[in-house]
Symmetry: C2
Subunit: 345 residues, 2 copies
Amino acid sequence: MTEKNEQKVHAIAETGKYPLIEYLTNKFIKAQPSTFLDFGDDAAVINPDAKKILLTTDSLSEGVHFNFVYTPIKHLGYKVVVAGISDIIAMNAKPTQIMIALSVSGKFSKEALGMLYEGIHLACERYKVDLIGGDITSSVTGMHISVTAIGEAEDDCIVKRDGAKEHDLICVSGNLGAAYMGLQVLERERKIFQENPKIQPELSGYDYILERQLKPEARDTVLNLLEDKNILPTSMIDITNGLASEMIQICNSSKTGCKIFEDKIPIDVETQKAAEEMNIEPYIAALNGGEDYELLFTVPVDKFDQLKDVAEISVIGHITDPSEGNLFISKEGGAIELKAQGWAE
Amino acid sequence: MTEKNEQKVHAIAETGKYPLIEYLTNKFIKAQPSTFLDFGDDAAVINPDAKKILLTTDSLSEGVHFNFVYTPIKHLGYKVVVAGISDIIAMNAKPTQIMIALSVSGKFSKEALGMLYEGIHLACERYKVDLIGGDITSSVTGMHISVTAIGEAEDDCIVKRDGAKEHDLICVSGNLGAAYMGLQVLERERKIFQENPKIQPELSGYDYILERQLKPEARDTVLNLLEDKNILPTSMIDITNGLASEMIQICNSSKTGCKIFEDKIPIDVETQKAAEEMNIEPYIAALNGGEDYELLFTVPVDKFDQLKDVAEISVIGHITDPSEGNLFISKEGGAIELKAQGWAE
């Protein structure tokens, strides 16, 4: 599935660091007025213009967060940007700039890095963020990418994790578990391929969940929708480690409990179908699967009428007193305490 | 040379991500008024208060930028912070915050990461910068660290690379080549040790150059000194890839040439001694050795009287018309065109 490149390729070592950076970044055009100085100096400079500045950083490692057996390198570039800006969006802020720090081994050609930066460029255009800096160094093995995302917001618009109140409605955007099931399909085909390289991967019929895994989108449109309805969430987080882990984060920060209902969790039919094929309960994919990049947020209960018919948003439960715990209510009515997954995603 | 830890160690996988972050960061205390929100949410928030915000990111990889055979992990933590904030200082700005993105394989214990963060903490205290966020994820092999450094400055104080003018004096802080010669000593002893593990490394007499390599400092004090003298450099850069490479950066950005003189380049006696032992010309260590973290800057020629007796600053040459090239003048008077080193440091 990796993209074929019939052109002559060049080793990065023969290119020179600064010509390589020029080659990778010459297409990027500034979109943000707050970008004051981008490449070409010791540091980039931004002009906050009386706004608060938001900052976040994420790391992705080859073999842990992505696998080039099935990840097209251009898609990876796109996804890295999405992973970074999703954290800014989850504060109800506008992503404005990114920086990319890349460590790569000699196995990557200049042209492969060019494809990576094409994906980064595409995402920068889609989300109107400026690439303002970064670093490219060598690594002994594989590729390691860190993305720093920068955003801006008016002070009174920033939504943290700690503002949820008892009786608030718990909402999610889009649908959950799709990226996780996309990964399971890719992993299944990878194993079949490794056992018998003559068998071509069977990926038709999974277009939606594969795209959710390989080229996810951040949910800036949900912020616009909430703004149009004049709704400021009381708390918000993006769903990168599964609904359970993020829900617990909000409850711990807000010192509340919660009750979420299995039959309210939005799951796409393709996610459902893939989960059934692989004997996975679809709600498990939603609770514990990662990389949905959907938004989980809480709103005061009186906003229900405004949200109940919005297709992009599902109300999945409500905030409770902390003494009630963080509960998942199954279709049959049984209550299970929510648990977060392992340490590193 | 790695520090011995007799206590029981814990695998990071058994610690849990958020308890691990809590364990690593609980000692950090905010020093900067602009730090508005640090850990514990999707993004950190800073309050620029009408200042410009500066941003830079650097990557360091095990086996390329550091080697645990001779790098104490606490020193590495300190050095990572210095590497980040040095780029902010090189813009004549005040470093205020950092974020650390860490990818680590399972070979590192919770306690080893604790030592790394002790070094980070020490540097944060020394330079009064706040650790405001980061990421910790797993890697397949080794350790990869990215540091994002943030700083603030008044608009008219920012010094870029592109302001050098013909006749400006070229100055460097401290002395050059020490970190590089420190690395050569460590590499020599590592090879001897690998060939015969019974031979103890012979490191006495190299204290200064080893410290320059293992626990470098950033040159914020030089900024204070220049401010006291009311001197605003016309261009500035920090010396991380050797004097030659950085000098070329300034000349390319400023569209000038330069002339620097071998006999003016400040070299410590210990650097000199180690270079002689290893048959390396000391000026080669200064021109092409990395990680000095000294400042290279230009000032108008009428500042000469104010700088000529300052021990921390050496005037090493002057800016010329670009048609003259970027020249290094040897002690014998011969002129050599400056050349930058390889692509990735």
